[in-house]
């Protein structure tokens, strides 16, 4: 479904991505793990058209979308729930969701998308007319995911959905991610909580300073010594990088 080949992205003189290749197949949950600055968010920014690729290609459903403008990419069926949520603080919950469907013109489709999102997140329905800036962190995260679902994406990109949330909320959000996937949305997930991410993903890629260090089946990586020591914090004094 999504195929990235030899992608290079730089910010000025710094190469954030030094030629990565990865693939996401229809129906999968794929996770990208790695420490801060490894290039996880940059990968997603490049896929959504927000960061410029110097070289390499990004193909989605067979079409080349490398460096296409974001609104074109979204209409093709890729949307993102960004790191730090980035909801519109002075718009109401409902208006935020409307923004998620910005590229759509079909009234009934938008209505059924509202129903789906409010069904997944009843809390958002209760707060429909509340401005997003007054929501709690967990609610804002739900809103960011809900907003991304409003365009009924074929591929949903999730950037750090558990960041800053209480453990019970993290469990809940991950449960919802799984059910969104079961409803037919393919998911590319970035997580610092590698343990959680690997436990719900089919496959995983491990990024280290702009390169893919290794990749494989998520269950296998969960047992892999290199992954366990670097990202799962299960070995002695080595702590997971925040």
């Amino acid at each position: 479904m999504l195929k990235i080949e030899n992608l290079v992205v730089s910010y000025g003189p710094i190469n954030a991505l030094k030629g990565i290749s990865l693939e996401v197949a229809q129906g999968e949950i794929v996770t990208l793990i790695g420490s801060n600055g490894a290039g996880k968010s940059t990968t997603l920014s490049a896929v959504t058209g927000l960061a410029r690729a110097q070289s390499g290609s990004i193909r989605f459903l067979g079409e080349d979308i490398t460096n296409a403008p974001p609104h074109r990419i979204i209409s093709r069926g890729i949307s993102i729930s960004p790191e730090g949520r980035e909801v519109f603080p002075a718009l109401t919950v409902h208006e935020n969701l409307r923004m998620g469907a910005y590229t759509r013109k079909d009234k009934e489709g938008i209505q059924s998308a509202y129903d789906r999102v409010y069904g997944l997140f009843p809390r958002l329905k209760e707060r429909m007319e509340q401005v997003a800036g007054t929501l709690s962190g967990g609610e804002q995260q739900m809103l960011a995911i809900g907003r991304a679902l409003m365009c009924e994406p074929k591929l949903l990109l999730l950037d750090e959905p558990s960041m800053g949330l209480a453990p019970n909320l993290v469990t809940m959000i991950f449960g919802l991610i799984e059910s969104i996937n079961r409803q037919g949305t393919t998911i590319l997930l970035i997580e610092q909580n590698a343990n959680m991410a690997l436990s719900i993903a089919n496959r995983a890629y491990v990024l280290e300073t702009g390169r893919i260090a290794f990749s494989g089946d998520a269950r296998t990586l969960l047992q892999d010594d290199r992954v366990r020591s670097a990202y799962l914090g299960t070995r002695g004094a080595e702590s997971r990088k925040g």
Partner: protein
């Protein structure tokens, strides 16, 4: 008492026209975080286009309509020619600001070229389309009534556009988080262009209204009024539509009262006296909120 009432009515009419210019500053600031100092010249350009097409005998209303479209297109040209390339290069904000000042001088000077309109003043067709209304000692010119009514209607339409339409929602979203707006698929450049077009069109209408009230135009007519309207936008809280209206009214009424009681020399400085006072007392303006800078 009667002179007081007269000055207030004067001020309200003029203030609404200022508000019409001020919303241009305010909306552009909303989507771009930029003070567009070319706005005053677009206002002057609008008045000149009305003057020009009236002289071609197309009639006053068609002339105003053409002027509205042309001024909107001029504002659009400024964005495409000068501001978008700078944004693409991610140049520093002050460069963009200075560019808008430069554009303002270019427009002003093109208007004053001898073969075009010349630097001298021209008479402008009066907008006193019906008999003045006399209540006691107070005379209200029909051009003032027209100014007030047209401005109120337009500002209501603008409020509707910003609050209730999809593009208005996109404008507010960009104002709050332009990165996220981009992310959900808003074509930010299109919305910016749209905003400039609307701002330019409103400035042209204000140009026709104010020139029709004073009966005179000159190439520099936009500089003082442009700055006054900018002051009005800041006084009300820049980025807020209703702020621009209240700011415009405050400036309009204050300067008419000053002209009435302190002498006409005091008229023009009033806007800036209020601006300075507001910046000392409440720097965000009447309705402005403290900006939250996101990382």
């Amino acid at each position: 008492m009667q002179t007081l009432l007269g000055a207030i009515i004067n001020g309200l009419a003029l203030g609404m026209a200022y508000a019409l210019i001020a919303v241009g500053y305010s909306m552009v600031f909303g989507v771009l975080r930029l003070i567009n100092f070319s706005h005053g010249s677009v206002y002057a350009f609008g008045a000149y286009m009305v003057y020009f097409f009236v002289s071609l005998k197309v009639g006053l209303f068609p002339a105003i309509l053409i002027a509205i479209v042309l001024s909107g297109l001029l504002a659009l040209t400024i964005v495409k020619l000068a501001l978008e390339p700078l944004r693409k290069k991610k140049s520093i904000p002050i460069a963009t600001l200075i560019t808008t000042i430069g554009m303002s001088f270019i427009i002003q000077n093109v208007l004053s070229i001898d073969y075009i309109f010349g630097s001298e003043k021209h008479g402008f067709p009066s907008l006193n389309l019906f008999a003045p209304i006399v209540i006691g000692n107070i005379t209200i010119q029909s051009s003032q009534i027209i100014m007030l009514v047209v401005a109120v209607v337009l500002l209501l339409v603008l409020t509707y556009v910003v609050q209730k339409t999809k593009i208005g929602l996109a404008m507010r979203a960009i104002q709050q988080n332009s990165r996220a707006a981009n992310m959900v698929g808003v074509n930010v450049n299109f919305v910016i262009s749209f905003t400039f077009f609307i701002g330019g069109a409103c400035a042209a209408i204000a140009g026709a209204l104010i020139a029709g009230y004073y009966g005179i135009i000159s190439p520099t007519m936009g500089s003082t009024i442009g700055l006054k309207a900018f002051a009005a936008a800041v006084v009300g809280g820049i980025g807020m539509l209703h702020g621009a209206v209240v700011g415009g009214l405050v400036v309009g009424v204050a300067e008419c009262l000053a002209a009435q009681y302190l002498g006409s020399n005091v008229r023009d400085p009033m806007a800036f006296v209020i601006l300075i006072l507001i910046l000392i007392i409440k720097p965000t303006g009447f309705f402005g909120k403290k900006g939250i800078t996101k990382v």
